[in-house]
């Protein structure tokens, strides 16, 4: 197992290196103009834009090494390069400065806890709603409970979360003069109650889609497991149905569900962009969106690699979890 984990981590490192080169290049070759000109705006002069390019490091070549097949010895080494500067900043933790001139590390330090808390609560709601309803739906197949749960799941998948989010803040203020705190992010340890008032509504909105997916997958997985021979054997031994479902069926049906929950973290980050905006949570999602719009290389490439690293680690975690859920799985 240890060797397997080490091998996967090395593979992950290679993936992240390739990802870093790809995102670095794509940002620069994609249409959309010069971020320095963007930042410089409508009052730009040539001198001003040159100063901004220098500040952002955009006056350096892309890579530490340049290849020119028409000019022997074909390879030349550059001093400072944009890629090397970025990688150096990634490793030393400074992360450079964003389009506004603010340190990216400071921004992430402020924003990461917001998004992480939102995602944790969302995952908790997703599991708390999706798994039990999936089980009930499978166990009481074709009953009103099953139909109700499936209807709810389809509704959750069908309704766009920006619309639900808007309703969630507009209806309470209209009818009950109530609104969650919207002006600034409240840390849990500063005021637990206000923090939950702020985070639970967006988490429920975000979880609507993911819980629906988990519910449907749990249901289908449970139905498949319930048809297995060992379930029939368990029943024939006279075990109570509750024991059959929870001890014998549930754990085995969880493997695809765990996979999907792991992968949903990355998908939830996408949904977080909109929900953070509607609930005015100053998290990573809203930061990423703003950076994309204005071609903020430093932020987009840094966050892409970080998100890539999270996905790599989550996949590894999910694989390890498989072995715990199904002892037949062995890694070597």
């Amino acid at each position: 197992m240890q060797r397997y984990i080490i091998r996967r981590l090395i593979q992950g490192g290679i993936i992240l290196f390739v990802l870093s080169v790809v995102v670095f290049l794509l940002l620069r070759i994609a249409p959309g103009g010069d971020p320095a000109a963007f930042r410089c705006g409508f009052t730009c002069t040539d001198d001003k834009i040159a100063a901004i390019r220098k500040e952002m490091g955009l006056d350096n070549p892309y890579f530490p090494v340049s290849v020119d097949l028409t000019d022997p010895p074909f390879v030349s080494f550059n001093g400072e390069s944009q890629y090397w500067r970025w990688v150096r900043e990634l490793f030393n933790g400074s992360l450079g400065r964003d389009w506004n001139g603010a340190p990216v590390a400071d921004e992430l330090q402020n924003r990461l806890p917001v998004t992480v808390e939102l995602l944790i609560i969302t995952l908790l709601v997703t599991i708390a709603v999706g798994v039990p309803f999936g089980i009930v739906s499978a166990v009481y197949r074709n009953s009103p409970a099953d139909y109700g749960a499936r209807f709810g799941a389809i509704l959750g998948l069908a309704v766009p979360n920006f619309w639900v989010a808007t309703l969630v803040i507009l209806i309470p203020i209209q009818y009950w003069d109530y609104a969650p705190p919207l002006t600034k992010t409240i840390a849990f340890f500063d005021s637990p109650w206000d923090n939950l008032r702020q985070f639970v509504p967006p988490a429920i909105v975000l979880a609507a889609v993911s819980a629906a997916g988990v519910m449907r997958l749990t249901r289908s997985s449970m139905l498949e497991v319930m048809r297995q021979d060992y379930i029939r054997t368990a029943r024939s031994k006279g075990l109570r149905e509750r024991i059959v479902v929870i001890r014998h069926a549930l754990k085995n049906s969880m493997i695809p569900v765990v996979t999907i929950i792991g992968l949903q973290v990355a998908a939830l980050l996408g949904g977080a962009v909109i929900v953070e905006s509607v609930f005015n949570l100053q998290g990573v999602g809203i930061y990423f969106l703003g950076a994309l719009v204005r071609k903020d290389y430093q932020v987009v490439q840094t966050l892409t690699v970080y998100i890539g690293a999270v996905v790599v680690l989550l996949n590894l975690g999910v694989d390890i979890l498989y072995a715990w859920l199904d002892p037949r799985i062995r890694y070597s």
Binding site: P103, L182, T183
Partner: protein, 571 residues
Amino acid sequence: MSTKSYWQRFERQRISRRRVLAAGGVGAAGLAIAAACGGGDGGGDNGPDATAVPTGTNGGPKYGGRYVYHIEGDWGTIDPLTSVGFAPGIFPRIYSALLDRSRIQSDVFYFDLAEELEQPDAETYLFKLRQGVKIAPNTLGIEERDMDAADVKSWFDRIDGDERAVLSPFAKQNLESVTVTDPQTVTLMTNKPYAYTLFRIGAPLGSTIPPREFFEQGLDIEAQGVGAGPFGTIKAGSFSESGGIVAQRNPNYYRTADNGDQLPYLDEIEAVRISDRQPRRVSFLDGQIDSYTAEDRAEVDGLLDDVSDALVTETANNTYIAFNMHPEKAPWNDEKIRKAAGHALNRQEFVDLIVGPEGGRPNGLVHWPLGDFALSPEELEELQPYDPARSRELIKEATGEDSIDIKVMYPVSDIQFHDKHLPIFLSQMAEAGFNIEEDVRDFGNWLVNYQNLEYDASLSLNQVYETAEIPLDWHSVNGPQGDRNFGTGIGGLYPEIEAAIADTKTKTDPDEHIAAVLETQRMIYEKGPSFLPIMSWTAFTLYHSYVKNVPTGLGATGLYLWNEAYIDKGE
């Protein structure tokens, strides 16, 4: 305690154009609103007047409380040298400017760090600084001393040494020297008469002056701030780059109210960043923020159903979308085709369909919020009438056909109202004989092409111009930045127009300046303008009724005047 409105206490008076000072009689607390020269009661036909806003009842102003307002985006750092976007709103609260000349009412001056200005000649500005403009208590180790001429000099030195400075183009092109005579006297000399000097040096954007210790001691001015403004201390831990800050009352602030009250009344001013409109609106309705800028008049009416006692202020926006033609390229090098474009645009229809008749007005070459500098609606009706039939006639005279193929570049953008302008523009132009090939770009690409003049014609999005200078410069051969970035105007085709535009900048006498700007617009209309601003709109801001003494009607200059605002929730 005076029960007169906030603004009624300030009179305008005619004083020498060579000597403008914060005379004690103008405002006991040192605020000077003076007709610097010939402006009379100011405002003019086009300009909005400073709006009188009801003061508090039940005993008048109260100390304490926090005013919370929203901004819509990041501000990154809070270094007044370089920070743009949403940060300028906070700078006049923390720091002081020498003086600010209202860009909406050009005859209104607010004297802050300076209490007197003398102009012995057209290039010299001699400022006598006020004594007692004292730095707020702080934990940065900056002494609670009076701001003086060395602070001013240090600030201009920093502008001179940093190309990124907001005022860098002004300093490079116009500033000859900054000289300190004594701690209370500083002299700015321009290298030629420059009519916009006083507009530039007081603007909240790039012109507020921090204590020199920031630079002498290498303190981090990007995330910290201490100044001599009414809210001169930033609350520890309150600043975030994403747009949050709490500025705290400066007990050393130099101004007092008429009744001798030490100003400001508020304990704190807080800016919170709320990017999305719905949470902004809900926050206002819930009382989490104290003011809210509505999208248009219709939204104001809807909000007043819920908050019927809210105060609504109207501020003319110096913002517009324009149609920009490249006059060195065919067909726009033909004045008949340019004039045809002018006749094609029914600017009133843009107003009616986008913001409603009460929400804005059609623009001439200088936009209407600039008051006396803009041509009157009646004259505009003569100079640029909507007449699609005339447009087709002009096209026929120029080409022999009654329609013409043109290519227009524009970006995909969510900038305010752009999506609403676009279909109206396309429809009106088509009706007047222009067959448009749409050259749609992403915003960044559009910006680069726009900057490099790689277009035949382009829509020019949300320009924000606080003086008449750049609107006229669009018609100069060197364009709005003086270096042929973004645009080149018909000045290259008509030397007399180039000369007239240059001449407007030298008119340091305000009356002569206004007359020159108006006359130059008329000249440009004669030759067919290459840059056509469409319309500017009004910003409607709602304040909860407990926010009192809200300064309005002076545009950004009002930001300096929050020292007499207060909160009265009747508690």
